[in-house]
């Protein structure tokens, strides 16, 4: 029986649609021209200029501070939450699940404005700390969901075996549960890290004096010029992202081979 070719053509068209702008951007980062209209020869000058732009390094530093703190805290909170959600089936957990799930679907702008109003109401100084609080609030949910998915394939008889052998709660968590869940937690952590690095809208709302992160810097670069610099910066970020995705893929792949074995 002949299958329709429409799905194939759509898939090809969509992939071209996905990658066309990204390729144009990468190619243009090597364009000597200051404006993206015409090609004026191959050049690395924008990459070189990028390294002398102090603001970018400063923004990168801020971004990394926020992203690392967010990742660590949301990994801890998210893993514990996933464990609670999985282990217990009570009314409390149903409320808990709703609480974890909702931030995943609320539009960024609503989270941004509500957190801004909250921080203003309690009089916290806006800055990197408020950005960290905001990022962690949405990253916890992502980590929890990723770890929860792993827990659902998890064989709890291992824990019962450990209990039978007289292990206490702490030993079980630290020695048995954590190593087995590590790939899931790591994948959740990487997700949190990328989300934190990429967030613009929420950060834009809760940022304060001097607390410029990379997306805020990129936004202001888009707004007042220097497109070739953005192209160069984007290319670097794309390469870094590919590396991260590759790592994640690698982590999950390892695990699959283990499972199959």
């Amino acid at each position: 029986m002949k299958r329709s070719r429409i799905p194939l053509y759509t898939t090809i068209a969509v992939l071209v649609f996905f990658y066309l702008p990204i390729f144009v951007l990468i190619i243009h980062s090597f364009n000597a021209s200051r404006f993206s209209g015409s090609w004026e020869g191959f050049s690395l000058r924008w990459y070189i200029r990028l390294f002398t732009e102090r603001e970018i390094w400063y923004a990168l530093r801020n971004t990394l501070i926020v992203a690392f703190s967010t990742t660590v805290v949301s990994m801890v909170l998210g893993t514990i939450a996933a464990f609670a959600l999985h282990r217990f089936n009570t009314r409390l957990q149903r409320v808990h699940y709703t609480l974890i799930y909702t931030p995943l679907v609320v539009p960024d702008i609503l989270m941004g404005i509500s957190l801004l109003l909250f921080f203003v109401a309690i009089g916290v100084q806006l800055g990197l700390f408020t950005i960290f609080l905001a990022h962690t609030s949405f990253c916890v949910s992502y980590v929890a969901m990723v770890v929860l998915a792993r827990l659902q394939d998890f064989d709890f008889s291992v824990i019962e075996a450990a209990q039978d052998l007289g292990a206490n709660w702490w030993t079980i968590a630290w020695r048995v549960l954590l190593p087995l869940l590590a790939p899931g937690i790591a994948a959740g952590g990487l997700l949190a890290f990328t989300l934190s690095i990429d967030d613009f809208v929420i950060t834009f709302f809760v940022t304060g004096p001097g607390a410029t992160t990379l997306p805020i810097q990129i936004y202001s670069m888009i707004k007042h010029g220097s497109p070739p610099l953005i192209n160069a910066l984007s290319t670097i970020l794309l390469v870094v992202t590919f590396l991260i995705i590759w790592t994640v893929q690698h982590l999950t792949e390892d695990e699959r081979t283990h499972e199959n074995a």
């Binding site: 029986m1 329709s4 429409i6 799905p7 759509t10 898939t11 969509v14 996905f18 990658y19 066309l20 702008p21 990204i22 951007l25 993206s36 209209g37 015409s38 801890v76 909170l77 998210g78 514990i80 939450a81 464990f83 609670a84 282990r87 217990f88 009570t90 808990h96 699940y97 609480l99 974890i100 909702t102 931030p103 679907v105 609320v106 539009p107 702008i109 609503l110 989270m111 404005i113 509500s114 109003l117 909250f118 109401a121 905001a134 962690t136 609030s137 949910s141 659902q152 709660w169 809208v201 997306p215 990129i218 888009i222 497109p227 953005i230 984007s234 970020l237 794309l238 992202t241 995705i245």
Partner: protein, 288 residues
């Protein structure tokens, strides 16, 4: 096993950290938004004393319906286009051989992992009046020298589809992967046409994934702010832009809150439906 009291202590111990965090930094802020919507604004960016319904009433003023209407239709069209593209693509990926499937999936996910702002910026470069798309269109006689591709609602639509499409493909693929394609073959054997088999067997079969896809596109689209800001023009503002303008330019926090509260309610309704369905699925899972 642990005794019941111990168990409930343990449950609280592992529930509290995330619960308290999200209660303070998610529930309370949301409640504040709803509260401030009932406060009067003072003209200097403060929040006035007492309570009022004026802010809510002023949402009915003739300036708003146009923006609300535009937000709704742009979001709906985005959703329809995304689903229309994601259905055949999800179908194709699910039916592809395992190795291909993995690669195609990766190719779909990568743009979703790259910086959101940069992807929008890439379109600004592409749609520039002296850019490639424009030149190609002029060459093909599809566009005139003078027309502008950027800064109009169509540009907003295009970039929204671009950024939200992966959100539609993934759930549809996930559902299609579990779908038993022999059902389609069976329908074909019974004489159904290709399209009919697709529509009457495949689509009902992946209903849940389809619904998730609709929500994953529709909800962020309703709250979109940055895309109309960067590629939209003076006639393509959405509710998100209005919220930002009220907050960062007009310093009218009650107004911003009222708009946000309305938007929250607008996205809450479809969300609750999904939550209920997810809850049911979880229970089923647990029963098993």
């Amino acid at each position: 096993m642990m005794n019941p009291r111990n168990k409930s202590f343990g449950e609280w111990l592992v529930t509290l950290p995330s619960f308290v965090w999200l209660f303070i930094l998610f529930v309370i802020p949301t409640l504040i938004v709803f509260t401030i919507a009932f406060k009067p604004a003072d003209p200097w960016g403060g929040i006035g004393e007492g309570w009022t319904l004026d802010t809510l009433i002023s949402l009915g003023n003739p300036n708003y319906p146009a923006i609300i209407w535009r937000t709704i239709w742009l979001s709906l069209v985005t959703t329809v286009v995304c689903i229309a593209l994601a259905l055949p693509m999800g179908y194709y990926i699910a039916r592809a051989p395992a190795r291909w499937r993995r690669l195609l999936l990766l190719l779909t996910v990568i743009p979703f992992w790259t910086s959101f702002l940069i992807r929008i910026f890439a379109w600004k470069v592409l749609l520039h009046p002296d850019g490639y798309v424009k030149r190609a269109l002029v060459f093909l006689r599809l566009s005139e020298e003078g027309t502008m591709l950027l800064y109009r609602s169509e540009a907003v639509l295009l970039v929204m589809v671009y950024t939200l499409l992966p959100f539609a493909i993934l759930p549809i693929f996930a559902a299609a992967e579990k779908f038993d394609f022999r059902l389609v073959e069976a329908a074909r054997d019974l004489g159904a046409g290709k399209l009919r088999a697709f529509r009457q067997v495949f689509i009902p079969g992946i209903q849940r994934g389809l619904l998730t896809a609709v929500l994953m596109v529709l909800i962020p689209a309703l709250g979109m702010y940055i895309i109309p800001d960067l590629v939209g023009g003076p006639r393509s503002e959405m509710v998100g832009n209005k919220i930002a303008q009220r907050t960062f330019v007009d310093r009218n926090l009650p107004h911003a809150s009222a708009l946000s509260a309305g938007l929250t309610l607008a996205v809450m309704a479809p969300m609750l439906v999904v939550l209920m369905m997810q809850g049911r699925r979880r229970e089923e899972h647990e029963v098993r």
